[in-house]
């Protein structure tokens, strides 16, 4: 049923789009019609696929590294009061720096290839993942910790056996956010300096006034993000259900 509504909404959007093009008679190089975009997507499918694979790779690697780094940081912070007092203000302060503004520097440091885009994606998702997971790790029922202490568990054992599993739903929340942010990071990186990827293809198409190709790339990017978000959502849901003891 959810599918039905989703598809209906998309159809309504396409019809509106086509209607605007017809009614306003806006030229093709400003707003192409959905049909023209579909045509461009079909004829340039090999080109779009080639660049999409680059962006997808950047996003997935960025997502993996960012999530792992964020999770490890959160565990370290939750495990040490001193580290927490020292690091949390720094982490919050770094959030005041707009990550997008770092893109030119990252390109300078890590080059025109995938590395600078992966770093960008990592930077953009690191904080949401760290903050969400840390929050979960800090909100464990103190009664559970007391119980574990009376059973003779060490701090590490409590972390591993109680706090981490308990905080999995919070990690899941962070991962859902990351799935949406990671493509933004990768594309911004591509805009600033690259020779491949969907962000690059959009700039290229724009420069050659191939607005239909630009839209086709944009829509491809949107579809990738939706698929990624859904996939991460399913994984996140499993983590949450596991931690809450709800099976299947």
């Amino acid at each position: 049923m959810r599918w039905f509504y989703g598809v209906t909404a998309m159809m309504v959007g396409l019809v509106l789009w086509q209607a605007i093009v017809w009614i306003t008679g806006v030229p093709k190089f400003i707003l192409p019609s959905p049909l023209q975009v579909a045509e461009a997507a079909y004829t340039s499918r090999a080109l779009i696929a080639e660049h999409a694979i680059v962006t997808i790779t950047e996003v997935i690697i960025g997502l993996l590294i960012g999530t792992v780094l964020g999770a490890v940081t959160a565990i370290q912070l939750a495990g040490s009061q001193t580290l927490q007092r020292l690091m949390l203000p720094i982490l919050v302060f770094t959030q005041a720096v707009p990550v997008f503004a770092l893109a030119p520097i990252l390109t300078l440091w890590f080059g025109y290839g995938m590395a600078s885009k992966i770093v960008m994606a990592v930077l953009i998702i690191y904080f949401p993942v760290t903050s969400a997971f840390h929050d979960g790790l800090s909100r464990v029922d103190t009664g559970l910790i007391d119980l574990a202490r009376t059973m003779g568990a060490t701090k590490n054992q409590i972390m591993r056996r109680i706090r981490i599993p308990h905080a999995l739903p919070s990690l899941a929340t962070g991962m859902r956010l990351a799935a949406v942010y990671a493509p933004i990071g990768a594309v911004i990186g591509e805009w600033v300096g690259s020779s491949e990827g969907l962000g690059y293809l959009m700039l290229l198409a724009s420069g050659r006034v191939k607005i239909d190709l630009m839209f086709a790339s944009l829509i491809t990017l949107a579809i990738i993000t939706v698929i990624l978000h859904t996939a991460v959502g399913i994984l996140a849901d499993r983590l949450s259900r596991y931690a809450q003891g709800v099976t299947a």
Partner: protein, 242 residues
């Protein structure tokens, strides 16, 4: 299992200079049930935490001694008002939580025997979310027994249960926790009247012994001795507050 010792706590506790209790002496006789009663905020839970060796808000000056002069570390198990079952583990896995936490190999056979003893044989593979409140507290009791410690501290473990389940759980706990030194923190005079070998009323200045009914625990709910002890305790506790 080693012999259950008696425990004596002596001393004072203050939070930011404000005295919680001062110069009290509380003795938990070996292998008996002590029920600790008192108005909210008088420090019952603090005493429980002190014996457990957990952090308390404030400072304790005094001593906690055992009759066998051995330290209390790893000789106490603890059961709280909430069951504290881990939702992602099955009942059986929760029962062996202590061993899991310490990275030891759990004794599943013994856990199954204990679960049978608390009436959860048919529910071993279920997650806590699938159990009723009473069953969850039974699982927590099995987890407590699994630790097989000579001293057991109970912090209102039955207070959230309905009356019938609570009476059942009291009987089950009394049956399975014999030969252990038990301290039960409770708000319920009826529970104290049923379960206690010793009743202690805690006030800021003393841990006062209260006479126990003349029949041995666990006492029937409807025995005249239980009922009269319950009503006298209640009358006294209401006087406390006034």
């Amino acid at each position: 299992m080693n012999e259950a010792p008696s425990i004596t706590l002596q001393g004072s506790h203050a939070i930011d200079g404000r005295t919680l209790f001062d110069g009290i002496t509380l003795t938990l006789p070996a292998a008996e049930w002590t029920c600790l009663l008192g108005p909210s905020g008088v420090g019952k839970s603090t005493i429980l935490r002190l014996i457990l060796g957990l952090d308390t808000a404030g400072t304790f000056t005094g001593s906690i001694e055992t009759s066998d002069a051995k330290p209390l570390d790893n000789r106490i198990s603890y059961m709280a008002q909430s069951d504290l079952l881990l939702p992602w583990l099955t009942v059986l896995e929760n029962a062996v939580l202590g061993a899991r936490l310490r990275d030891e190999k759990p004794d599943l056979d013994r856990a199954q025997t204990l679960l049978a003893r608390v009436g959860l044989s048919d529910h071993q593979t279920k997650k806590p979310a699938a159990l009723s409140g009473g069953m969850r507290q039974r699982a927590a009791l099995a987890r407590t027994l699994m630790e097989d410690r000579p001293i057991v501290l109970l912090d209102e473990p039955f207070s959230a249960l309905d009356a019938g389940t609570r009476a059942d759980m009291q009987e089950l706990a009394a049956e399975v926790l014999t030969d252990k030194t038990v301290m039960l923190v409770t708000h319920d005079p009826g529970e104290a009247a049923r379960m206690a070998h010793q009743i202690v009323l805690l006030t800021p200045s003393e841990a006062k012994q209260w006479p126990v009914p003349p029949i041995p625990p666990i006492r029937p709910v409807d025995a005249p001795e239980t009922l009269s002890a319950q009503s006298e305790l209640l009358a006294h506790m209401r006087g406390f507050r006034a």
